[in-house]
């Protein structure tokens, strides 16, 4: 390169730097950056056209979680906006944080005060975000502005979102009560004559597993577990106060609401010993504590679900028939309700509009379907009005459970038509945890929470897959937890519970 060219390059670079700096410094909310991508972002055009004088239709920003954004995403959103602009005079701009990035991205957005209107959250972050002051207090607003929404969601479910007695988000009313199912691949049920009606506890599974193992051979594992899941639903009997640390909990039917060390409870200890026995006898796969992805077509698994779910599993797992039976629940706990929440930013300029939009999502079937399935005609087709639909693509990145209720959502072809009614029935039958409505306030307990969780992480995979011997490990774990602040947490929890329920 000649020296003149280099000189110009150097000047050019310096100029570019200074221009960028100057351009940005002036207006902090300027959105006029040239985007170098060949296909222009839908955000820019939507905003440009909106501010070009199409009336006072505000565009709200909704941060949600999802997968890869497909090519027709903007078109689908535009279709939704056309509909909602007409109905309630609000448009939406949906920003998707993908599953893997969600944690870091949402933290950054909330912490730096980046403007948004609606945000999906759940029990892993809700408490902390409310403590930080990120969300608007909706208690009065939701009753005055959107009474339909308020009446549609049962009081119990609203209670689940209360922190310090105030409502900070719109809960997603779906299978909000937890119902645990145990699922067998039917061919094994037939082959070994498994009496599923007689199985009520973990120990009852023993015979079935041993029969299967004896019949299928050495490298067959009846109970195939993974690292993240362990035995799904293991701690269902104990409410974790939304803390997310299983070793502390309150037994769901304990009227005295006592916070206990869960690992040391006799029923939990028994189950842990059972798991360990199975691991030693080859019922559980030896690499369970390090295996991240589950096998397809497992002979047995446990999961939270609702009637009709086996149809969906049969398709996704490629199994001819699954036999599932209810083993626990339905029960409401604060955590189960907080599984999917949509909150409104404390700094949002359009709180009322945001609430109205959420109300529309939860009451209007047409909008609900578009949000859950995508673009009409491209991602799905109506089979029976808005009640039954058929999916024709699998690229829509948004998950229905993160958006709004299931009860105005269409049923997909092939699933039982009254699926959602059955879910509703389950919810109506649901009992409540003894501490429903209570969420532990951890604002003064940061150090203890951080350290106890780190200790739990050290041992949980091997404990919950049966790889480690509970008789040896539990005392050790509890000692370390205590050193990390478990006692302080329990005392604080008990105090808070007593105050809350007096």
């Amino acid at each position: 390169m000649t020296k003149t060219k280099k000189k110009w390059l150097a000047m050019g670079a310096a100029a570019a730097l200074l221009t960028t700096a100057l351009a940005g410094c002036g207006d902090s909310n300027s959105k006029s950056e040239p985007s170098s991508s060949p296909s222009n972002s839908g955000t820019q055009t939507a905003e440009a056209s909106q501010s070009a004088g199409s009336g006072e239709v505000p565009t709200l920003v909704w941060w949600t979680i999802g997968g890869q954004v497909p090519a027709n995403f903007d078109k689908a959103i535009a279709a939704m906006n056309e509909y909602t602009a007409e109905k309630i005079g609000v448009k939406i701009d949906i920003k998707v944080a993908s599953w893997g990035d969600w944690d870091t991205k949402i933290n950054t957005i909330v912490n730096t005060g980046e403007p948004f209107d609606i945000m999906f959250t759940n029990n892993s972050k809700y408490n902390q975000q409310v403590n930080m002051g990120a969300f608007a207090d909706l208690t009065d607003l939701v009753q005055s502005e959107t009474p339909d929404l308020y009446n549609f969601v049962p009081q119990k479910v609203w209670d689940g979102t209360k922190i310090g007695g105030k409502i900070y988000s719109v809960p997603t009313y779906k299978d909000s009560s937890l119902t645990q199912y145990w699922v067998f691949d039917d061919k094994y049920v037939q082959k070994y004559g498994i009496d599923t009606a007689g199985i009520k506890t973990l120990g009852d599974l023993d015979k079935a597993f041993r029969d299967m193992k004896a019949g299928e051979g050495k490298s067959f594992y009846p109970l195939s577990l993974t690292q993240g899941d362990g035995f799904n639903g293991f701690f269902n009997g104990y409410d974790d106060m939304t803390l997310g640390l299983p070793p502390i909990g309150v037994k769901v039917d304990d009227a005295s609401r006592k916070a206990v060390s869960v690992l040391e409870q006799p029923d939990v200890m028994n189950d842990l010993k059972q798991l360990h026995q199975w691991y030693k006898d080859g019922i559980v796969n030896p690499d369970a504590p390090t295996k991240t992805e589950a096998n397809k077509a497992r002979p047995f698994f446990a999961a939270q679900a609702f009637p009709g779910a086996e149809a969906s599993w049969q398709i996704t797992e490629g199994v001819e028939k699954y036999t599932m039976f209810q083993i626990f629940g339905p029960i409401y706990t604060t955590s189960t309700i907080q599984g999917s929440l949509n909150a409104i930013s404390a700094n949002s300029k359009y709180k009322n509009e945001a609430l109205k939009y959420l109300q529309l999502v939860n009451t209007d079937p047409k909008l609900r379907n578009m949000l859950a399935f995508g673009e009409l005609g491209v991602d799905y087709n109506n089979v029976d009005g808005e009640k039954v639909i058929e999916r024709i693509s699998d690229t829509w990145p948004l998950a229905a459970y993160t958006q709004g209720t299931f009860f105005n959502l269409a049923v997909t072809k092939g699933a039982p038509v009254d699926q959602w009614d059955q879910v509703r029935k389950l919810n109506d039958q649901a009992t409540s945890s003894a501490i429903l409505g209570f969420a532990l306030d951890i604002s003064e307990l940061g150090t203890e929470v951080a350290n106890t969780k780190a200790v739990w992480d050290k041992y949980r995979y091997e404990l919950l897959t049966g790889a480690s011997d509970p008789e040896k490990m539990v005392p050790r774990i509890v000692t370390e937890l205590k050193a990390a602040g478990l006692d302080k947490l329990m005392t604080a929890a008990q105090e808070q519970i007593d105050t809350y329920f007096q």
Partner: protein, 314 residues
């Protein structure tokens, strides 16, 4: 070369060269101000109870001051010692191997008769750098997975029992060291190769005429002339002795419980502690690591300056 002490005592005049050099360095200085120094106000978050009041700046200004409360969790962890031992231990090995091996290989590769072969080898040795740790973790899984891994398939083929690799801590220090060296091999070689290339060939010609062997040439010409670069790489590496590659120590071992005592470093432990922590605690942890890094690099530089003043960085 430099008469540093001499220069310090003279108050030299500002020359035109100084103005010109300043202008030459200006764009980069602006970059540093914008991207490194401006964000430093964020360090103050470590000392505050961060709450949202409005925009970010007003959040920082109005949040309550809490002194060192956010730092508590770092020092109250019982695993701190294990984790520090792992970090320092691995890093010391990495520093030594990470300099010795690429230097030796750089010397060797230039000696090959066929330059073309040298090029091919170098390209291949650079490939691991482009596999992100997520991909490497998947590759390691494909080798070490209990039922589907290549190694266990090979073992069962020979009639032996499969090994549950991810739950056997004794092999992992070797695995981790090997993988760190493997991934950085090509990258390290580049720096040293560039240095070697810059050495004037007349030195070698004179040495050959004097009857020096290859080994003597390397010992008395090449290595001494690389000293500056090697020392610099050493000091920089020591400055990062409290930092480890998160991908290597978290993603590759798959967060296995059994491997905790051999594979957890400071970064991994802090990550686990911070999963539900506040932004203040995260800032506090970054602050502490920065301070430690600063101290170690200054210490390393001071030690080097004692031994060989010309090689010191500052």
């Amino acid at each position: 070369m430099d008469t540093k002490s001499g220069r310090k005592r003279l108050r030299t005049r500002w020359r035109t060269q100084d103005t010109e050099l300043t202008l030459l360095a200006l764009p980069t200085t602006v970059w540093y101000i914008l991207f490194c120094f401006l964000p430093m106000f964020g360090l103050v978050i470590a000392f505050k109870d961060f709450k949202i009041h409005g925009g970010f700046l007003s959040n920082v200004i109005h949040s309550e001051w809490t002194g060192f409360k956010n730092f508590e969790f770092l020092f109250k962890s019982n695993d701190a010692w294990v984790v520090i031992r792992n970090t320092l231990g691995y890093n010391m090995i990495f520093i030594v191997l990470g300099i010795a091996i690429p230097v030796i290989l750089a010397l060797m590769i230039g000696q090959l008769h066929s330059g073309k072969a040298g090029k091919i080898y170098q390209t291949m040795m650079f490939l691991p750098y482009f596999l992100s740790w997520v991909v490497v973790s998947a590759i390691v899984w494909s080798f070490l997975s209990f039922d589907k891994g290549i190694v266990n398939q090979f073992l069962t083929g020979l009639g032996a029992d499969p090994v549950n690799w991810y739950m056997e801590p004794k092999y992992w220090p070797y695995f981790l060291i090997f993988m760190n060296v493997w991934k950085g091999l090509g990258y390290g070689m580049v720096v040293y190769l560039a240095t070697i290339t810059g050495i004037d060939s007349t030195y070698y010609e004179a040495a050959v005429i004097d009857g020096a062997s290859k080994w003597q040439q390397a010992r008395f010409i090449t290595l001494p002339l690389m000293k500056l670069v090697i020392v610099m790489m050493f000091i920089l590496a020591v400055g990062r002795i409290f930092y480890t590659d998160f991908g290597l120590f978290f993603q590759v071992p798959r967060d296995s419980n059994s491997l905790f005592t051999v594979a957890t470093t400071i970064d991994v432990l802090v990550y686990k502690q911070l999963k539900t922590a506040t932004v203040g605690m995260a800032s506090a942890s970054a602050f502490v690591q920065s301070v430690m890094g600063c101290l170690t690099i200054l210490l390393a530089n001071w030690v080097v300056r004692r031994v060989d003043p010309d090689s010191a960085m500052m």
